[in-house]
């Protein structure tokens, strides 16, 4: 194919030019991102170590890690992490299921959208923390109200993501399904689901982020265990190292769970012609 030759040549050129600096780039780029926090942490460690500050309110990294180690050794840490993960997991599951089902119904069926969507949008306008007193009255101060709050936080981005994704599926692609006479379920499975998946994964990640946000709110309100409890306990007993330790663990867990979604979705999204992907590889 003579007509295709320039395209092929171009892509092989791209591959060549990408191959040479890639070894350096692959490791150097993430390293660049770590550089700033690393310098700040080492700098502060040095400042405290040399006695320019006592580090009582802003403990140096070594003291934070010592606190984490101590909590881990006593088994406290596992208990708190388990409690928080359990709440986030359950709230996330409920929120995702409700958001997916209602979002799919609203996206697929325009009558349902007209009936349902205005109400959902109105509820979305309420700051979710405003539900806390009501949830406590309705569901008690224990696990149920916390999980409900997290589920509410997760619900909205998932609902909006699913509905928006279904509404924006390319009519031309749907027509291909019609030409091949796909039945309703086949149309959903073979056209709509794959078309919606990229946006769905994004909405899951946003939802998970909100889940982590709301678990802190829920645990600050009243809990006897969990990472949020560690925060509150650290404030009340004046232990900034414990607060920072909890924050560090929140960051690690949040990043880790987000990464899990990303990794789980990657095999299904390899086909994407995304901007970031082309440059990153």
């Amino acid at each position: 194919m003579i007509s295709d030759a320039p395209a092929l040549q171009q892509s092989s050129e791209q591959a060549d030019s990408a191959a040479a600096p890639s070894r350096l780039a692959r490791y150097a780029r993430p390293m660049l991102g770590i550089l700033l926090p690393l310098i700040l942490a080492l700098g502060w460690e040095l400042v405290v170590g040399l006695g320019y500050s006592n580090g009582r309110l802003v403990p140096p990294p070594s003291r934070i890690f010592a606190t984490i180690l101590e909590l881990a050794r006593s088994g406290e840490l596992t208990r708190h992490i388990a409690a928080t993960l359990w709440r986030v997991g359950l709230g996330f599951a409920f929120g995702v299921v409700a958001g997916t089902v209602l979002g799919a119904i609203s996206g697929y069926w325009s009558l349902a959208r007209r009936l349902l969507d205005p109400t959902v949008q109105a509820l979305r306008a309420i700051p979710s923390l405003a539900w806390v007193p009501l949830f406590i009255l309705w569901l008690g101060i224990f696990e149920t109200s916390k999980i409900a709050l997290i589920a509410v936080g997760v619900f909205f981005p998932v609902y909006l993501g699913v509905m928006g994704a279904i509404l924006s599926v390319d009519r031309k692609i749907v027509e291909v399904g019609r030409v091949f006479r796909l039945s309703g379920p086949a149309m959903i499975r073979r056209i709509l689901l794959p078309a919606v998946l990229p946006a769905y994964v994004v909405s899951l990640r946003v939802g998970l982020g909100l889940g982590w946000m709301f678990v802190v709110a829920a645990e600050l309100i009243g809990a006897s265990e969990g990472l949020g409890y560690l925060l509150l306990d650290g404030q009340q007993l004046g232990k900034p190292a414990q607060i920072l330790a909890a924050i560090v663990i929140f960051a690690i867990l949040g990043k880790l769970t987000d990464w899990l979604i990303e990794v789980a979705a990657t095999p299904f999204l390899r086909w994407q012609d995304a901007f970031g992907r082309a440059k990153g590889a």
Binding site: M1, I2, S3, D4, A7, S11, K172, I173, E175, V176, R178, V179, F180, R181, A186, R190, I191, P194, A195, L197, F268, R270, W271, Q272, D273
Partner: protein, 261 residues
């Protein structure tokens, strides 16, 4: 035999896109439909495909009325419309879901070879050039072996060289099973290269204006004087179709059409 009987289409906004279009198309015939913009070419094609229903009139294939997409009718659009999440091979096999995996693989492999893309079987659609993608779309439409293949300006987005190449390629593929081809185009060259019969439509509302038989042996030489002659007569018909002072050939047939003047 594909029979179009007084097919009309009026859109909900009142625009009459197609008025009493009648034609009979034999199995294996290659028809080109050509006409000025807004002459209802694409509307006609979508009615034959069963994607839109005619407001009145009927489309019948072998005596069966077409009101929704039919297994014997395939369509190729202006854009390849490949599913981006399927590999090239899976795109070609998309319409073969009823077959066993082995049979499907075999048919897809043969089709890939036929369009010269065997090495791209596992590629993603985004990795293809425009011409390659359209060839995959042609393979996808042909692999279920339709009796009628509709083509809606399939090569209009490609450069001239790729277009000529794909036109020859299409004829080559057509010769395998000889389905009926109905090609909507605005390219006179393309119509004369491919068609046995060129239907010229005139716009507002879209209707049949003239038809020209192209009695040229294949393969056709794009530079022969005979080819030029046919091109000139199609162009002349096209010009007349856009000239409002020229009456419809069969203007006396329907009172509705006569009144439109």
């Amino acid at each position: 035999m594909l029979a179009l009987d007084r097919v009309s289409k009026t859109y909900p906004n009142g625009v009459q896109a197609l008025a009493r279009f009648s034609a009979e198309i034999k199995l294996g015939e290659i028809i080109a439909i050509i006409g000025g913009s807004g002459c209802g070419k694409s509307t006609l094609l979508r009615a034959i495909a069963g994607l839109d229903r005619a407001s009145s009139g009927t489309v019948t294939l072998d005596g069966e009325a077409i009101t929704s997409p039919h297994a014997k009718i395939g369509i190729i659009f202006q854009e390849p419309r490949l599913l981006p999440w399927l590999s090239v091979a899976d795109n070609i096999g998309f319409g073969l879901a009823d077959l066993s995996a082995g049979e499907r693989r075999e048919k897809v492999a043969r089709a890939l070879e036929r369009v010269g893309l065997s090495d791209k079987a596992e590629a993603w659609p985004r990795e293809l050039s425009g011409g390659q993608a359209q060839r995959v779309a042609i393979a996808r439409a042909l692999v279920p072996q339709p009796e009628v293949l509709l083509l809606d300006e399939p090569f209009s987005a490609l450069d001239a060289f790729t277009r000529a190449d794909l036109q020859d390629h299409l004829l080559d593929l057509w010769a395998d099973t000889r389905p009926t081809l109905i090609l909507v185009t605005h390219d006179v060259d393309e119509a004369v290269v491919l068609a046995d019969r060129v239907l010229v439509m005139r716009p507002r509302p879209g209707r049949l204006f003239d038809q020209i038989e192209i009695n040229l042996a294949r393969p056709r030489d794009r530079n022969s004087p005979l080819f030029e002659n046919f091109k000139r007569s199609v162009l002349a018909a096209l010009d007349r179709s856009l000239d409002r002072s020229v009456p419809d050939r069969d203007a006396t047939q329907g009172p509705g059409q006569a009144m439109w003047w």
